[in-house]
Symmetry: C2
Subunit: 210 residues, 2 copies
DNA sequence: GCCCGAAGTGAGATGCTCTTACATATGTAA
DNA sequence: TTACATATGTAAGAGCATCTCACTTCGGGC
C-alpha cells in the first residue's frame, strides 16, 4: 500500500484510492455472507474486509447495518419478481401452466437463495417504515394476482380472484419455507415441485371447491 | 449490593447470592426480548440485566448465545405442540373440525408469538446438529399426520395420508407466515381463520381432487 | 463441622457498530 | 493550470456485546 497503488486491488475492480463500485460489492458480499452463514451471520466489518476497504467505508454508502440488509433484500425482491414474471411469460396468458410456473419460480428462488428468501420475509421487525420494500412485495403479489385473474377470466380486483390468489400464494409460500427448513417429514422420495404446483393450481383455480 | 442482601432482588424470586431460578428466567427474558425487538433484538447481557445478575452468570447455564436461543425455541415448540394437541382433543377423533382446530392453534400461536414462531422456523442455519429440536418438529408434524389419518380412515404411514398432511401443513404454514408478515394484500376485510381453515381442511381431506 | 460442587462476581480480551476528524480523488469553472 | 466542491476513502476511538478466567459464596452430604 505504498509503492504501487494498482497492485493492492484484492481481486476486485479497485482502481486506486477510490474503489469505484463499493456499494454494489458490499451488497454482493453481504448476500454471500447471508447465504453462507445465515441471516445474522454477517457483519459490516466482514463485508468491508471482503471488499478490501476499511470498516468505516461502508458508512459512506449506507446509513447503518439494517440499511445494508434492506438493500440486499430489495435487490433480492427484484430478482424474485423478475423470475416470477419470466415463469408467467413462458406460458400462454391465462393458462394454468403459467400460474404453476410462477409458483415454481418462487420455490426455485427459495431453494437457490434460502438466506435471502428468509430475509425477505423476516425483515418485518424494525423495518416497518420501508415503503419501497412493501411496494416490491405488492408487485410480486401482483404477478400472482393478474395471472389468477387471467386464468379465471375475471378482473384482478374481483373478490373471488383475490381469495384464490391468496390461497395460491399461501400454499406456495408454505411449501417453499418447509422445503428450505426441512422440518417436514416429506412424503417418500421428496416432491416433484412441478407436478405438485400444477396440481395445486388446478385445484385452487378450478371449480369452486372452496 | 452491600448492607442488605435481600433488598436488591429485582422483582424476581431471588433469595440471596444464589438466584434459584436463573435458567428459566433467562429463557423468559430472551423470549420477551425476541417478541419485543425481533428475533435478533436480544442480547445475553440484556437478559442477564433483566434477571438481575452479572453478564457472566448466564454462561453457567448455557454454553453460548445460540444455546439460549435454542432453549427458547425448544420451549416454544413444546407450547406449540401442546396447543395443537388441545385443538385436536376438543373435537371428535377423525373429524374435519379436529384438523381445522389444529391449524387454528398453529395460526393463533404465530399471531400470539410471532417472534418465537419465526425463530422456530428460522433457526436452521447453524443449528443443524440439534436433534432435540428436529424431534420436536417431527412431533408437531405427527399431530397433523395422525389427525389426517384418522380423518381418512387410513394408517398414518399411508402415502396418501402423508401427501395430504403435507399439503395441510404447507397451507397453514404459509398462511401463518403471511399473516404475521402482512406482506399480502389480504382479501378485503381480512380473513376468518376458522372458516378458512375449515374450508381448506375439507378441500384437502375430501374427495380426491389432487 | 467440613468440604465440595454449583452458581455467582468482576475484570478483561476481542470484535463489532458507528462517529469524528482528516486525507485523497474527480469534475467543473475560472 | 489552478482552485474549489463534492464524493469517497482512512485511522482512531467510544460504547456495547460475547465469552473467559480467577475468585467468592452458598448449600448439601459426609
Amino acid at each position: 500500500m505504498s509503492d504501487d497503488p494498482a497492485r493492492a486491488r484484492p481481486a476486485t475492480s479497485r482502481a486506486g484510492y477510490h474503489h469505484g463500485d463499493l456499494r454494489a460489492q458490499l451488497i454482493e458480499a453481504v448476500r454471500d455472507l447471508v447465504e453462507t452463514h445465515g441471516p445474522d451471520g454477517f457483519s459490516v466489518a466482514e463485508a468491508a474486509r471482503r471488499a478490501g476497504v476499511s470498516s468505516a467505508a461502508p458508512y459512506k454508502h449506507f446509513r447503518d447495518r439494517p440499511e445494508i440488509l434492506r438493500a440486499v433484500v430489495s435487490e433480492g425482491m427484484d430478482r424474485l419478481r423478475a423470475a416470477m414474471e419470466r415463469g408467467a411469460a413462458a406460458h400462454p396468458a391465462g393458462s394454468l401452466e403459467g400460474v404453476a410456473a410462477i409458483g415454481l419460480a418462487y420455490v426455485d428462488f427459495a431453494k437457490a437463495e434460502p438466506g435471502v428468501f428468509r430475509l425477505v420475509f423476516g425483515l418485518t421487525e424494525g423495518h416497518e417504515n420501508a415503503p419501497d420494500l412493501r411496494e416490491k412485495g405488492e408487485d410480486c403479489y401482483g404477478v400472482v394476482l393478474s395471472a389468477a385473474a387471467a386464468c379465471l377470466g375475471l378482473p384482478p380486483d374481483d373478490p373471488d380472484v383475490e381469495r384464490r390468489a391468496y390461497m395460491l400464494w399461501s400454499f406456495v409460500h408454505g411449501h417453499s419455507f418447509l422445503t428450505i427448513d426441512m422440518k417436514h417429514a416429506a412424503p417418500e422420495g421428496g416432491i416433484d415441485d412441478g407436478a405438485y404446483l400444477m396440481a395445486v393450481s388446478r385445484a385452487i383455480l378450478g371449480p369452486k371447491t372452496f
